[in-house]
Amino acid sequence: MDFAFMRDTFLTLIGGVPLTLNLAFMAVGLGAILALLLALMRISGLKVLNWPAQAYVFVFRGTPLLVQIFLIYYGLGQFRPTLQEWGLWVFFREPYWCAVFALTLNTAAYASEIIRGGLQSVPHNQVEAARACGMSGFLLFRRIVFPIAVRQALPAYGSEIILMVKATSLASIITMMEITGLAAKLISQSFRAVEVFVVAGLIYLVLNFIITRIIMAIEWWLSPHLRRPPAVEPRLEAAHV
């Protein structure tokens, strides 16, 4: 192992971290909104809404992400005149926006199933109790259903975020120079696959470790009812009576 080379590799690859995180957070953030919409469509009980959402999830979970990225980045070029006419070409011309778009559409499909599971796990008696207190509609959703669903869905959503961080590596195939893109470039220049792989792998592991910890902290913060109650000081005066 050549440590000087590994240090240089590390310094090069660390430059890709902002782009990796940027892509992952853009996709997860935008994807969450779309996913919530899809999940609400799924549980709406209306066939007109349920059916398209189901088809969407089937298509995006059944095809490889790379195909989706190519379809958007290369494929939409076929409709360039139309897109230019609509003023969307500035958007689809950029590999960054194509990657964000593809990752968003992809994560929304997976996340909508997670959110749906969370929403459906909300105990019915809680909803009934809320209705008995006179809550309904949006207030019921905001105060009762949504918080409980988020708590239920969070562990699974955490692994989806990790999957997204890993999925950003595919953006390197459409010329985005994030960690994997830089690593591939370094390997093809130096032919030292193992060293570069070890460094890049470590960076990803550290990133994912930090994200897991953050999710665990949020989970802990959201479930005070599962924690042991803080030890209450015994009331001394009672003992003296």
């Binding site: 298509v59 076929q78 994997t180 390997i187 696959a193 792989f197 990803y204 592991l205």
Partner: protein
């Protein structure tokens, strides 16, 4: 030159890419199956290490599954693609062979997929093993079965039965991972679509066709795994 219609383009006529795409889809399935089976072998040993190993073997196995599930698959594929040739070149030079020895893209791809999916399958097998009732294993031991016989007659059949849903999920992952092998130049479905898109300037049509073919493969394999699950559970009494 006049524009070909979509169906002429992906059809089986003189200008059609139909056969090329179907052959490539066959290649996708072949590399995915080889990778999946390699992963089953790796996964079995890793699960064994996790269940029955001593502290060193257990932490190695845990480290393996954590690392392989925490880094991007593309990185592993690059490692095998570039690293494999370098390693073979080094071994070759020991025997006096000179220069670059390329590893066939199919072997690289199947191995990379095997190593990645092995980590997922190990977790599936471990979970399934924990469902096998302790009593059955004790009973097998008490009638004098030794390890291999017990594994073959008692553990493997039951673990496989409980593992089928998990294996189905892993298979779907493997199928989608196989698209990444296209970066090594293996002419599978995505690579073939890329070639066709480049030479006809109709990228959308070809990637859409590729997506439809992937969906078709996913759909058929979901059905097959469901059949396998019902078949394997035919003697079980289900709650509810």
């Amino acid at each position: 030159m006049q524009q070909l219609s979509y169906f002429e383009l992906v059809g089986f006529g003189p200008n059609g890419w139909g056969w090329a795409l179907l052959t490539a889809a066959g290649m996708t399935i072949a590399v995915a199956i080889c990778g999946f089976l390699a992963g089953t072998v790796v996964g079995t040993f890793v699960a064994w290490g996790k269940i029955g190993g001593n502290l060193v073997i257990r932490s190695l196995a845990d480290g393996y599954t954590t690392v392989l599930r925490g880094i991007p698959d593309l990185l592993v594929i690059y490692l095998f693609y570039f690293g494999g040739s370098a390693a073979l070149g080094a071994i070759g030079s020991l025997f006096g062979a000179d220069g670059f020895i390329g590893v066939p893209a199919f072997v690289t791809g199947a191995l990379a997929i095997g190593i990645i999916s092995g980590a997922y399958q190990a977790e599936v097998f471990r979970g399934a093993y924990q469902v096998v009732s302790r009593g059955e294993i004790e009973a097998a031991r008490s009638v004098g079965m030794h390890r291999w016989l017990m594994f073959r007659r008692i553990i493997a059949p039951q673990v496989l039965r409980y593992a089928i849903p998990g294996l189905g999920n892993t298979w779907q992952l493997v199928l989608k991972e196989s698209a990444l092998i296209s970066v090594t130049g293996l002419v599978e479905l995505l690579r073939q679509s890329h070639i066709a898109a480049g030479s006809t300037r109709r990228p959308f049509d070809f990637y859409l066709t590729a997506a439809v073919l992937y969906l078709l493969i996913t759909w058929v394999s979901t059905y097959l795994f469901q059949r396998a699950e019902t078949h394997s559970m035919r003697g079980m009494r289900r709650a509810s």
